[in-house]
């Protein structure tokens, strides 16, 4: 049976989502998408310019991908809602990644405003994927607010520091009935694989691919890592123990 991730009624076979903010040229985007088999691509609406096709970042997202505008630049729920509505009016569809950031040093999300924006936009029929600091109570409120998935950060945006929030993300995966997509901070394919092995539904990567020496090769590496991590999760990882567990036990001869 095919392993499918369903979000907002759409079935996805690829569990690697791509961010597009940092590429050296928009024309790299289709090649990266192809190399990694990506099906969901997020673009900042602040970068979308329908009037200038040649430089319009959205025009470089292949048509068979789901275009997920994000609300980058929003400082509160109200601004995020306005950006999402603008995106839909501009023909970007009804998926939206909520980013509400009021901290320009670390770009950490404002969970409170994110919940408010999610509630409003979900009620308006958007498929809402909120970027969040991993916090169980916040995630529960996002579920109630109508989010289609939750997107906890692994580490601050662009930091390439990996899955620093592992314990908290693990709790979300256990407790939240929605897909948990690890967003931000993953710097290496092995970290993406680790998130997938834990049971993350998908990961979103931008900086690590866009700023690699060879972005296309790195995209391929992330694609493979995400697939490997997913396969490992489905196969069921063995338990970890403190003591050695011998394959041929020394006391196996004892009988009750």
């Amino acid at each position: 049976m095919q392993d499918v991730l369903t979000i907002g009624g759409r079935e996805l076979t690829s569990r690697l989502f791509l961010g597009t903010g940092k590429f050296a040229a928009n024309k790299l985007i289709p090649e990266v998408v192809k190399a990694a088999g990506v099906q969901v691509v997020t673009v900042a609406l602040r970068r979308v310019d329908p009037e200038y096709e040649e430089e319009n970042i959205a025009a470089y997202v292949p048509r068979d991908c789901i275009l997920m505008p994000n609300t980058s630049g929003a400082r509160n729920a109200q601004e995020a809602v306005r950006i999402a509505r603008l995106a839909r009016a501009a023909g970007c569809g009804n998926w939206v990644k909520i980013e509400v950031i009021t901290d320009n040093r670390y770009l950490l999300p404002d969970n409170y405003e994110t919940i408010k924006a999610t509630e409003i936009l979900a009620a308006e029929g958007f498929v809402v994927l909120p970027y969040m600091s991993p916090d169980l109570m916040v995630a529960k409120k996002l579920v109630e607010a109508g989010a289609a998935a939750v997107m906890p950060l692994g580490a601050p945006i662009g930091s390439n520091r990996g899955l620093k929030t592992k314990e908290l993300v693990r709790i979300l995966i256990e407790e939240i009935p929605l897909p948990v997509i690890v967003d931000a901070g993953l710097g290496r394919p092995s970290e993406a694989a680790e998130a997938m092995e834990m049971g993350a539904a998908a990961v979103l990567v931008n900086t690590a691919i866009a700023t690699a020496r060879d972005p296309i090769a790195m995209a391929r590496a992330f694609g493979l890592a995400v697939e490997a991590g997913r396969q490992a999760y489905l196969a069921g990882l063995g338990e970890t123990t403190v003591y050695a567990r011998a394959s041929s036990p020394l006391t196996g001869f004892l009988r009750d």
Binding site: F23, L45, R47, D49, Y52, E55, D103, N104, T211
Partner: protein, 366 residues
């Protein structure tokens, strides 16, 4: 505490002694740190740090790519009016200079906007001299109404305003403020600004704070290099940016390191600031504020700008003109001579050639 009060803390600080006691080991250690203090930043601006420019450049490049990607935002300045009542001794627009004075009417403005918009640019920076009679806030507001049809982001570089005036322009569609303190040394400032409202050092210094409180999205500060010791001016510019980021974490903070250019009036820079000095400043700031924007204008010559792309710069002006109405054929005197005269496609080609992408639109006024 306002930045004016922060700045006061350094009034009696002996910069020369501090620079003298910096060692090679200090610089090496600072370059290796993940978060710099203001003292670390000052050390990187010292003469001692000059021999570590390559190490600083490598790190500055890595940090910039990590935080901003390989992209450079393009914008262009648009001069609305050159009427001015100040007597800043270094400025081409100062009241005593015998230049043709001009103010765009809204039809002329639309024509200029059309010409710029045809290049694909979506970020515009509007400038005026300081004359509340010729360029009152109501005029700026009317101009913003016109420009909104053509641009998605409108920044202002005008005389300092009151908080409610900033709020008024923000509600009209302005999202960015550029305001240079020119000189952070209050005594030198007094010498260079002998008459006019710009004499009020503190009112100008606190303008970014008023704009931030009014809800401005992005703020760009700077010192005009050549008016005073560049090392201390660079230090205070960095402190100012850091203060704004700490006080208003939601705003996007940038700095500019503009160097004095030839202008009507013929003022000669008091201090020479070499390319090497400029680069040291840019690198030190990048290591101090890894997420701070750095803007380089067409004041700098083409070849230097090409190299600066990879050293931490995040924004560049393109296709600039410092004369009022200069793009649509009106031949007035510019505020200063620009140095990089390439048009927008030429700048874009250069940025691509450096392995970066020019970005024409990076904000949409909400």
């Amino acid at each position: 505490m306002s930045f004016y009060e922060e700045r006061q803390r350094y009034n009696h600080f002996d910069f020369e002694s501090y620079f003298e006691q910096i060692t090679d080991a200090d610089i090496e250690k600072i370059i290796g740190k993940s978060r710099l203090t203001e003292w670390d930043y000052l050390a990187l601006l010292s003469p001692r740090a000059e021999k570590y420019l390559e190490e600083m450049a490598q790190k500055a490049h890595r940090l910039t790519v990590q935080h901003f990607g390989r992209v450079i935002l393009l914008y262009t300045p648009l001069y609305l009016a050159n009427y001015c009542i100040n007597r800043c001794v270094y400025c081409g627009f100062q009241v005593l200079n015998n230049i043709e004075r001009k103010k765009l009417n809204l039809t002329e403005l639309a024509r200029e906007a059309e010409i710029i918009a045809a290049t694909g640019l979506k970020h515009i920076l509007i400038l005026t001299g300081e004359s509340r009679r010729e360029s009152p806030v109501s005029y700026l507001r009317a101009c913003v109404d016109v420009l909104r049809k053509y641009f998605t982001s409108i920044s202002i570089e005008v005389y300092p305003l009151q908080e409610e005036e900033y709020a008024e322009l923000i509600s009209a569609g302005v999202d960015g403020l550029t305001i240079y303190q020119e000189v952070y040394d209050e005594e030198v400032y007094a010498q260079l600004h002998p008459a006019g409202p710009k004499r009020n050092y503190r009112f100008r210094l606190e303008a970014p704070e008023r704009a931030c409180r009014a809800g401005m999205r992005a703020v760009n500060v700077g010192a005009l290099l050549g008016l005073n010791s560049w090392r201390t001016e660079a230090f205070f510019t960095g402190l100012h940016a850091n203060y704004l980021q700490n006080t208003f974490p939601e705003i996007e903070v940038s700095i500019s390191p503009p160097r004095l250019r030839p202008s009507p009036g013929g003022f000669q820079p008091r201090v020479e600031v070499s390319d090497k000095n400029l680069v040291q400043y840019i690198l030190a700031f990048r290591l101090f504020m890894p997420r701070g924007g750095i803007t380089i204008s067409t004041r700098e010559r083409a070849e230097l700008r090409d190299h600066l792309v990879r050293l931490g710069v995040t924004k560049m002006s393109a296709g600039s003109c410092t004369a009022v109405g200069g793009r649509s054929g009106h031949d007035s005197t510019g505020q200063f001579e620009i140095s990089d005269e390439r048009n927008v496609p030429e700048i874009a080609r250069m940025i691509y050639a450096q392995g970066y992408q020019p970005v024409y639109k990076d904000w949409q006024v909400l």
